[in-house]
Amino acid sequence: MRLKSFAAFLFIAFAAVAFAQPAGYPSQPLTFIVPYGAGGMTDVSSRILASAFEARLGQRVDVVNRPGAGGYLGLSEGLREDADGHTLIAVTTDIFANTVLLERDFDLASVGFLGSFMPQERVLFSPVDKPWTTFEEFVEYAKSNRVTFADGGALWSGNVVKAMALEGGLDIAHIPFESGAAGSAALLGGHVDIGETGVGTAAWQAAKEGDLNILTILTDGTLEPFGYPEVENLEQKGYSNVVRMYYGIAVSGDVPEEIRSYLESVLQEILADSEFVASLEALDLTPQFVPADDYAAIVTTVLVEAAGLRDFLAE
């Protein structure tokens, strides 16, 4: 009995510490840097998140788009700001993978994480009027015929498909497009044979309507929550490179731990709020909290995998 109440006391004490708002913080409006252009998935989800933060922090959270250099521009700018906890950075595992793929100067230790708020599946689509409907049929066809692949601007996903082609002996011509939207247009117009974008995009919507076929997903996840339990992911198909897409929030690594952990707890709170979750689920997105340490571990894995991918493709 006493052990239980002691445990309960410890738990409450710990929780109280975790949720305690540091004195005097926040003292001014926050800046939320989105290293992507306006209207994209990162931008939209960040804006929704920003208003949730505003409500809880009692200060304005200004979303600022700083697109460029595969996300590196916004990330490095955010890390250069004063480490007083008033600058948040929207990050994706894609940005981190890009630092490796584009061989940039980057040190993971310079980043402090709040956590991840949303994983996302990356889907390989195909127009319906092609000589294949399943992934296996596609692979068979691509072994002896040249096919075109629309890359919707996500460097990592594109490279994973390139690796898939190398591994499987497939003749895939890689066609980069500036954005997921442009790639979707190419798919829907039948100008390419396969294409990749995330769940929740225009292509995804079309697939739900039956205007596009889903071949596989490039992550190691599943489409079961969306009603496609039968779609296997790339790992299950036997390929060794996958994409891991997690949207998260970061701050400079120099931000005091007190502030960082407070922000982490706020993020966790937001993701426990059913209204917030519903607003993202309405867009076919899947909000889910991943604590900072776990997210950091995922990012570390991402960096390693991206390096492996880069080396594999370089041969």
Binding site: G39, V44, I48, P67, I175, L188, A282
Partner: protein, 509 residues
Amino acid sequence: MADITHALTLVFTFENLIAVVLGVTLGIVLGSVPGITADMVIALLVPFTFFFNPLTGIVALMAIAKGGTFGGSIPAILFNMPGTPQATATSLDGYPMTRKGQAHKALEMAHYASTTGDLLSDTILLMVAAPLASIALRIGPVEYAMVVLFSLVIIATATGKYPIRGLLAIGIGLLLGTVGRDDFFATERFTFGLLSLEDGINLVPLLLGLLVLSEAFVQLRQREEAIVPRPGSKASLESDHSHVTLKEYIQNLPTILRSGLIGTGIGALPGIGATVGAFLSYEVARRTSKRGKEFGTGVIEGVAAPEAGNSAVQGANLIPLVTLGIPGNLVAALLLGAFMIHGMTPGPFLMRDQAHLLYALFITLILANFVMLFIGHYYIKLAARIQQLPRRMLFPLIMMFCTIGAFATSHSTFDVVLMFGFGLFGYLLRLARISVIPVVIAFFLGPLLEGAVRRSLLMSGGDLAIFTQKPIALAFLLLTVATVLVMVLQAVRRQVRSVRIRNDAARRS
């Protein structure tokens, strides 16, 4: 049908109507300040629209876009400084009209043409959005490449009397367009190791520098008495009672409608934009008009065409967004974000599930045009006062707004420095009698062309023949070839004529 009646109830709410009026006003006013573009305003105001219901929020943003497109023509006409990039073509005949004392007429025509072009594309949007979108889908990289090539050639061949200088300008523009990491292999081009240049030179600082600042420098160098119209003088707006008569409007209606159609077509294709729409309309009008040779000296058709063209693009840009969820320009991208934040994903589903909302949006857009007619009428009168400010007071103000504008787009002081650099560069170009406008056009058409051509060649495995294999692409390719042939023939004919004149003169002497 029930959808439409439902839509009407959504349209005529107090909130909505206020949003339209405020949006149009804000757009016109801020668009008429060189340095502040409608895109900037919209980007800044997107968060505020979250407080409204989805329809009102989106309507407000669209109203600003509409207002801004017309507003930008005001300084273009009065000072030869476009307030928004898409008003650049308007200054070609608009400013000469001001110098002839017809500023008021030019402003009115810009106003009427804008509204009509907008109305045309909004009506088309309302009636045939879905089928038009599926046609637009057929435009893949191959077709797109040929459309852009055609646009580039058409605008390029309009370089006037000094073709070599025009080609030089285009070359400079193309070169500037290559700066940045290339889309395909991420190779750095002309970035000099600067992170800020990795995504290329931003359009806003380049535009503001080359078009607005350089113009300011050019005008400041001239004697002030010659520029500021004395009250009562021919060029002063006070004594300018020139109006657009109904007869004139009707005479120009074919041009306006044709430009509106061109703009709608361009707008349905993502990425090309209102500025190109304006120039294409201007060029086509110039080539088909009886007064074609007079374009550039202050012909009212030369104001009507680009203004109708650029406004029509705005409405049509919604087509790919609303039917496929694919944004064609920045405003559409921001709208996409706004839609999603309100829980709606634009795409095939939206037309099906929320038809009433979309109809409400389209109807409100049409309504906004009439609001613009009303507000624009009074704002033009206000613009008269501004023209009376001496240049030495006005231009520092304009430069201040340009600086704010250059910074605001990407929170970058680098862009401000870049803008002043381009201002200087533009001034030097003008001293050399090289027009800066082809530089700007080539700057943003170049990367579009390169991307589309490279994608096409990747698709075909390096085979150039792909451009002749797709019907739509082939059509535009032939149009391009025809245009070039006509230009060459005209040049040859001119040369032959001038040789003959010289020979005649030599024989006589």
